[in-house]
């Protein structure tokens, strides 16, 4: 016998990625705002040009500070910013590659080639994520 009671719908990839896309999109904006705000507090207001600040905002890596007039990059290069960078990379890469997957599924039909391309996208996602983390932790 059926009733109005509703079991929670199953959690499939589409549902999870739809939620993730929304959360990660918002998070990326928040992370950028946080990067700009803290950067300004740490001296960017007088010692950094706009372009450099923006690079910092969207990828808070201390290498970006080297050619600015910041005298001491101690505040700009520590574990906190490495975690921030990893979050940015994971959110951006996953958000972007998932978008690529949706486009792929729009323009191809199920079959070998779609599966192959999907796998390629998966590999690219893993690869770019690993490379980025290696760079972050190594700098």
């Amino acid at each position: 016998m059926r009733s109005r009671a509703m079991p929670k719908p199953s959690w499939n990839l589409e549902y999870l990625m739809w939620i993730f896309t929304r959360i990660s999109g918002l998070s990326l904006i928040l992370l950028a705002v946080l990067g700009i705000s803290l950067g300004l507090l740490m001296g960017a207001r007088t010692q950094m040009d706009m372009g450099t600040l923006m690079r910092w905002a969207f990828f808070p890596n201390s290498n970006h500070v080297l050619d600015s007039e910041i005298p001491d990059i101690f505040l700009w290069a520590n574990g906190f910013w490495q975690i921030m960078q990893i979050l940015v990379v994971v959110f951006a890469a996953t958000h972007g590659f998932n978008g690529l997957r949706v486009v792929l599924e729009d323009y191809t039909s199920p079959g070998f080639w779609q599966a192959a391309l999907r796998f390629l996208i998966f590999l690219l996602w893993v690869f770019s994520g690993l490379v980025a983390i290696y760079v972050i932790l190594g700098s």
Partner: protein, 234 residues
């Protein structure tokens, strides 16, 4: 006043490619675009193909593109056009059969896929099932759908991939999901939770603009996404 209609033409039985024909005729400001098509067919070219029935916006036969936007030909008056040059084309995303007539089967297949019918397995009472005016109001907006396909064929996600169920099918699922008497909400939500269900909606709002019945289509789709995320209908 004189009005010029540039109409998309395609006849698969002739060798000619898809093209446009231009017709000029006298019109009153209060004429419907459908009236103009009828007059062209009657006096200038009897081969012009288009669908129509009720001619006042309740049957959903004559969804076409008028100057680039999806409208019912019977609900747009000459005075609403704000131009005397009118481009008339078939709705997009469905195969053109002849002139303005498109194959509606893919559209109805999507409609049929969402269980667009009342389900309640309890034995019916001797009289009506009770429903409060508030419960009835909850799904009122989506009961207005006339299946004209104006929304679905205005949706870029549908243009890109015809497997997307499209706004109209979702609207018709919404009509039952939020009906307090119905018992198959979970099954319909499961259908819409799939790859070509609600997640293909990128809130572009073309559908809401196209709807000749003023249904808040994007909002209805949003309510379904919300129900999926919350796992409840409240």
């Amino acid at each position: 006043m004189q009005v010029t209609l540039k109409i998309f033409r395609y006849n698969p039985e002739e060798d000619r490619k898809k093209h446009y024909d231009t017709f000029t005729l006298e019109a009153e400001p209060t004429d419907r675009v459908l009236d103009l098509l009828e007059r062209i067919k009657g006096n200038q070219d009897g081969t012009l193909g288009f669908r129509r029935a009720c001619a006042h916006g309740v049957c959903g036969s004559d969804a076409i593109r008028i100057n680039g936007v999806n409208r019912l030909a019977c609900k747009v008056l000459v005075q609403d056009l704000k131009t005397r040059q009118v481009v008339i084309e078939p709705i997009l995303g469905l195969p053109v059969e002849k002139d303005l007539i498109v194959d509606m089967e893919p559209f109805f297949d999507h409609y049929r896929s969402v269980m667009p019918y009342f389900v309640n397995d309890d034995p019916p009472p001797a009289k009506e099932r009770l429903q409060s005016p508030e419960e009835r109001e909850r799904f009122d907006d989506t009961t207005k759908c006339i299946l004209c396909a104006a929304c679905t064929t205005s949706c870029p996600s549908f243009w890109v991939n015809g497997k997307y169920v499209g706004p109209s099918a979702i609207v018709n699922a919404h009509r039952f999901i939020f009906d307090s008497r119905d018992q198959a909400a979970a099954e319909r939500l499961e259908i819409l939770n799939e790859q070509f269900g609600v997640y293909r909606c990128h809130t572009i709002f073309n559908c809401t603009d196209a709807c000749p019945r003023d249904i808040q289509v994007t909002q209805a789709i949003g309510e379904i996404k919300k129900a999926l995320a919350k796992g409840s209908l409240d």
